[in-house]
């Protein structure tokens, strides 16, 4: 466990060097700018608009960070041959992969939490009302990041950074359409196509589980059952991807 934590810490430091704080500062400035410009134009709906843009921007930027930084995380170690020095120590490849995953998730989750905190602070300052419901959306987005980072680590365990980024973006996009795919596949399609669609449906991550922004912007809290379900689903799905990724990475030739 200590070995995994050490790798995760090192990954955190590596991500921090990529000027994540700058993203936070830009996000904060951007959100303040949007709220100043948009609020008077929104005919009394400024608070909703700022909440929407804040939560959507935070989730999108954290996902983007996980894909962009994560897709080259393993590749850099292989390219610079630093992985050989790490592997010379008593550490298993699966532990190395898990450490990278934990570090990447912590970085993306911390960035997400920072951006949601900026949104909440701005809303509290402008309307003197703290939107506590945003914590539900934050927890669900953190759970979603468990899957996003697992997808990134899974693909980067066997392919190049460019292909990793492409496969991740495609998987996440398809994950948002999983329900539609299931609906169209099971309504009027041939039995063979219906079976194939059903298989793809269960294989894809069901990312709509983690989207409660629509509830939160209308002032409703996310229920504990949904949070528990989303957390358990994310843990199981991410666990499956990491297990598969570790199995592939164990067999990878570093030469």
């Amino acid at each position: 466990m200590n070995r995994v934590v050490a790798i995760a810490r090192n990954t955190l430091r590596e991500v921090a060097r990529e000027r994540v704080a700058l993203i936070l500062a830009l996000f904060g400035a951007g959100l303040v700018g949007v709220s100043l410009v948009v609020s008077p134009l929104a005919l009394g709906e400024g608070r909703k608009v700022v909440t929407d843009f804040g939560l959507a921007g935070a989730s999108a930027l954290a996902t983007l960070l996980a894909i962009v930084l994560g897709s080259s995380l393993l590749h850099k170690e292989l390219d610079r041959r630093t992985i050989l020095a790490v592997m010379a120590k008593p550490i298993r490849r699966s532990e190395f992969l898990l450490g990278k995953y934990a570090g990447l998730w912590t970085s993306a989750a911390a960035l997400l939490a920072g951006m949601v905190a900026i949104t909440v602070a701005l809303l509290a300052a402008t309307s003197r009302d703290v939107p506590w419901e945003a914590s539900g959306a934050l927890l669900l987005s953190m759970a979603e990041l468990l899957i996003v980072t697992a997808v990134v680590i899974f693909f980067s365990s066997f392919t190049t950074p460019l292909l990793t980024a492409f496969f991740c973006a495609s998987t996440l996009l398809a994950g948002h359409f999983a329900e539609d795919l299931h609906y169209f596949g099971t309504h009027g399609a041939s039995p063979l196509l219906a079976a194939a669609t059903e298989a793809v449906y269960w294989l894809l991550p069901h990312l709509e589980v983690f989207n409660a922004r629509g509830l939160v912007v209308h002032g409703e809290a996310v229920g504990p059952e949904r949070l528990a379900f989303a957390g358990a689903y994310a843990a199981l799905y991410a666990g499956a991807l990491l297990a598969a990724g570790a199995a592939i990475f164990e067999r990878r030739d570093f030469r």
């Binding site: 948009v38 134009l41 929104a42 005919l43 009394g44 709906e45 909703k48 959507a56 922004r213 629509g214």
Partner: protein, 227 residues
């Protein structure tokens, strides 16, 4: 003249200068010609997608996409209010906004108000409110606005009274809804009731709705004086 004759500092700066000059030229070109060429009348918002497509394309960010469409709709209304006062696409835009975020109440209220009051299409306005009430059955606001349109636009006082009573039975309604529910049946067709309703719009509506309320109150006042 060979490139080596140019001082090194200028050679570094030259591409940036060229970029700045080209960018300025593009801006000047657009400023000079676009107003003359411009978009054809009615072309604006033609690209606006259907609600179903917009919902699919927003990949989990439907409510933020609804806000963008809402802001675009208000901008469209504001531009035409200052010019030709034709708002032919406002119904479509508000329909897209409400497809993206069915719980966003402002577009139902504002869209129905503009359709009924400015475009003189109260049935389309009532249809938008009906869509809103199906998605938000507990909203007193949408029931109250339905009653309002029945009263001031269709002069259907029986329906208006029914919707005011319905609004008064829904949770979270303010005190004035009870008063309108009580008065509506007694004062059906009464000018004083219409004045009260428009004064309520003046107190609670957005800036555009307040402008229409001022106009309607002035009209009712002029009618009263003419008698």
């Amino acid at each position: 003249m060979s490139l080596s004759a140019i001082p090194a500092r200028w050679r570094v700066l030259a591409p940036f200068l060229a970029a700045a000059v080209l960018l300025a030229a593009a801006g000047a070109f657009q400023a000079a010609l676009w107003p003359r060429i411009g978009r054809a009348p009615g072309e604006e918002l033609l690209y606006f997608p259907s609600g179903l497509f917009a919902r699919q394309a927003s990949i989990g960010y439907e409510t933020a996409a609804a806000d963008v469409a809402w802001l675009r709709g208000i901008q469209y209304y504001g531009e035409h209010r200052l010019t030709d006062q034709k708002y032919v696409r406002i119904g479509h835009v508000m329909s897209v906004v409400t497809d993206l975020d069915p719980r966003f109440l402002a577009p139902y209220v504002f869209g129905a108000f503009v359709l009924a009051q400015e475009l003189h299409r109260p049935d389309d306005g009532l249809a938008l409110l009906e869509k809103g009430r199906r998605a938000n059955p507990d909203s007193w606001l949408l029931a109250f606005e339905t009653g309002f349109l029945h009263y001031v636009c269709r002069h259907d006082y029986e329906s208006a009274s029914r919707y005011f009573v319905r609004a008064a039975r829904l949770p979270g309604h303010p005190e004035y809804v009870d008063r309108f529910a009580a008065f509506a049946s007694q004062r059906a067709g009464n000018r004083g009731m219409a004045v009260l309703l428009w004064k309520r719009v003046l107190a609670t509506g957005n800036q555009y709705m307040q402008e229409v309320a001022r106009r309607e109150l002035a009209r009712l006042d002029a009618e009263e004086r003419a008698r």
